[in-house]
């Protein structure tokens, strides 16, 4: 059936929605919630059907489309499209199988990934798959298949360079913006590092959110290639590319409950490294009380899984277990973290020592892995590159190539309203809980408000006097600061003894 497109001028934020008039729907025996396929030339998209009850909103002979569909199919008002019924995807049986704790063959995982990518599963159906994988972890073989299929179903960055370096941190530590220091060091040393990063899910800032304070991060694959060929590196938002679209969709349904199944974590990280053609990868697993991975034992287990699966895909991988028991850096929130990074790269005394130390150690390891420094001499080279200002100059090059916003720390101002949180007693700080600090920065408005967040004056081990500020919270909104006051009373994330 041919229909004329009506631009509904509405965005669902995620779901692909199409609206038919009830008369057309009845004619074709379509019901609200059904999936239908919209075909325009050689492009097609599966959308969820809503029904227009009268004739005002969507008249007979038209199909109302939400922004997400219009943009995906590059459609405009009054364009003509064809609609077709969609059969129940075959994956449903396979997802049921996994819910029943039966193993999936690689061909079955391929089917599921293909149905996810082609939008054939509703969010409810996809959630069942994620829940099944969470409660009944995929085997190593299944995880390997999932990784391969995720990487296969997506675009690829093709660079002629060798080696292609990459890094990943599994997260859970507030601040910890090492990527933005490591990438310019490596790029300055002549190594290729096309770094894709994520936006925050549950944290107050992802690397992509933080880099966005300084430069554009939503680049096309062609633009990324240009930036990397010009500067050796980039720091962009992976979500703007289609590197592993299945993974992007899975992450979207994991978000509401902050689900993080191990097999999906592994597949997600590795598939994206494979898609950018990484040959040498450093993975940082922070562990310890208050971080994502609580114990050394669990961290070691993850390390082995990463090494095993990347090994089977031919990617050389080093895994670093690091201290994840407290925030790294002083600023928390996109703008405040970006300022820390710039201070470190400019050798400014205000650059947090812990952030500099960790970033340079990791950069040093990667210089050795990538063949730019002899064993044991990587850290020294990294220090030279930063101290000489080469790293900062390279970072400015990258920022300019991506679309410059800010290159100097003094251009960054925290949000207008602030609140000092003071120590209730004199003593030594024995613990700063990452999750509590993250929560406060989020309540203050990060990452949606880039300038919101907090600034830590102290780290674990510091002595503090009663009444001295532990940190200052910044927000663009006074009401949010009132919430923060309440949150701080309840969270009690800083222990002073």
């Amino acid at each position: 059936m041919k229909l004329s497109v009506k631009d509904m001028d509405i965005s669902s934020g995620d779901a692909l929605i199409g609206i038919l008039n009830e008369k057309d729907a009845k004619l074709m025996d379509f019901h609200p919630g059904d999936r239908i396929k919209i075909v325009r030339g050689n492009r097609s998209e599966t959308v969820m059907l809503n029904i227009s009850v009268g004739k005002q909103s969507v008249p007979k002979g038209s199909i109302g489309l939400f922004e997400e569909v219009l943009s995906s199919l590059q459609l405009h008002h009054k364009d003509s499209v064809e609609i077709l019924p969609v059969r129940k995807p075959f994956s449903l049986e396979l997802i049921k199988k996994k819910l029943d704790r039966l193993p999936l063959a690689c061909s079955e995982i391929r089917q599921i990934v293909s149905d996810i990518v082609h939008n054939r599963l509703s969010s409810i159906e996809l959630t069942y798959f994620v829940a099944a994988c969470y409660m009944n972890e995929l085997s190593k073989k299944e995880t390997l298949c999932l990784t391969r299929e995720m990487a296969m179903h997506g675009d690829k960055l093709k660079l002629s360079a060798y080696p292609v370096m990459d890094k990943h941190c599994i997260g859970g530590v507030a601040g910890n913006r090492t990527t933005m220091i490591i990438v310019p060091i490596l790029a300055a040393a002549g190594l290729t590092i096309p770094k894709t990063s994520s936006r925050s899910i549950t944290s107050p800032a992802g690397t992509a959110d933080t880099m966005e304070v300084l430069a554009d991060v939503s680049l096309s694959l062609r633009q990324v290639k240009q930036v990397v060929e010009k500067t050796n590196g980039c720091i962009i938002w992976g979500g703007a590319l289609r590197l592993a679209p299945a993974d992007d969709k899975i992450i979207r349904v994991e978000r509401p409950l902050s689900i993080d199944a191990e097999s999906q974590l592994l597949a997600s990280v590795i598939a994206k490294k494979a898609s950018v053609g990484a040959t040498h990868v450093l993975i940082d697993i922070p562990f310890g009380s208050g971080s994502k991975v609580l114990s050394r034992k669990k961290a070691l287990h993850l390390k082995r899984e990463f090494e095993d699966i990347t090994g089977r895909l031919g990617i050389k991988t080093h895994v670093l277990l690091s201290d994840g028991s407290q925030p790294i850096g002083n600023g928390i929130g996109p703008a405040l973290e970006a300022r820390d990074v710039l201070w470190v790269l400019r050798n400014d005394a205000r650059g947090p020592a812990d952030l500099r130390k960790k970033s340079l150690a990791m950069a040093g390891m990667m210089l050795e892995i990538g063949g730019k420094a002899k064993r044991g001499l990587g850290l020294k080279l990294a220090e030279e590159i930063v101290n000489s200002g080469q790293a900062y100059r390279k970072f400015v090059d990258i920022i300019k190539a991506q679309g410059e916003r800010v290159t100097k720390p003094e251009q960054i101002k925290p949000a207008r309203y602030s609140l000092d949180i003071k120590s209730p007693r004199s003593g030594t700080i024995t613990h700063i809980q990452n999750s509590s600090i993250s929560k406060i920065a989020r309540v203050a408005g990060a990452p949606a408000d880039k300038a919101a967040g907090l600034f830590l004056y102290h780290h674990v081990g510091d002595r503090i006097q009663k009444g001295e500020p532990i940190f200052t919270v910044y927000s663009i909104n006074k009401e949010r600061l009132a919430f923060v006051k309440f949150a701080v009373r309840k969270l009690d994330g800083v222990v002073i003894k």
Copy 2:
């Protein structure tokens, strides 16, 4: 913030959707997919937010609402409403807990049920709860709490009669329309039986779909009370009432994968019995190859669970294990099943013997349980009530009280196009697979097309000649019959040896 309602004239079929102009959304820091609360007087509803990108669809100062929201809040175009942000529901932590295989306290289950009923959980979040309960079955204590909470959060039918009879079949058998024969028998004998039934989920017809061929089934609680007070019985669609709204929402997310967690099955059935004030209940568990419950062992386990939980709620329950290995009755699909029922009640020779036998046996048991017949004499009384025409007359009374459509079998015509499925060989029928027969009837268009379905000429044990029809399929649509031909080739549900 006060906003003016815009009737969007769109139905999502399920989800409650509200649309804000992007300027208003930005002002209040709302994003697409956020939950917001809409308040009108003392009523409120939580809706999922979509954003209008331009000013055409939803101008600043307005909120566009889908039909589901307008009807729930009884709102009209240009009404004024207040909107408020909604905090993340507390249940999310509890659902995560269940995903992590930890037990839930009754107070925690109460919180989850309350959040489900008040629409505070998105379909993704609710799916996680259902998946968690499916993969990690609730304990008996948890199931009891879930049942109580489901019954508590909903409307109640209050009748002064005692006993209040009820029955339930856990399903899985094609045809098997015993309710529509049992209710008039009991009502004719003077027992009160306010029967609520479901529509089909995965079968070609639910009792509500079948009864709808003859009478209205979407009644309000007040109307149900009137019908039962007048005729002693009713057969209505439970979904039109709010007897256990949490269960209705759970069933909606179970549907896509035909998930059926035991604990949710128990809670769902029993909560609805408790809500209509049932004091004496007969539960039919058909088991055997091709039905929902495959083994006698599993059926016995379910029987004990039903007895135990209803016992703790003070409901006297008998559980019948019946033969579920083949369809019961000849017609499959709403109209064809309704015709079978009318034939049985009118003592027409075309009434299927198996349907009559099972229905009368169950009615007999219930007459004994309800104190209308001495032990061992229930079946005899049931036969007298049917043979004398009392049951049919009572059924006509009920149909009239609910809103008459059809009372005579000759008024029912199967769908226009038909296809005979013939035996490929001579021999004895040794198996008729319920799920295959159901699938064929659904492909033919049942239950959406009431007159679609199939008519079985034979049951297990019958001898059949090569080329003799096994069943005839009916559809309003020729293309569907072409699908049926294909489905029959693949399904092979009838075994002839």
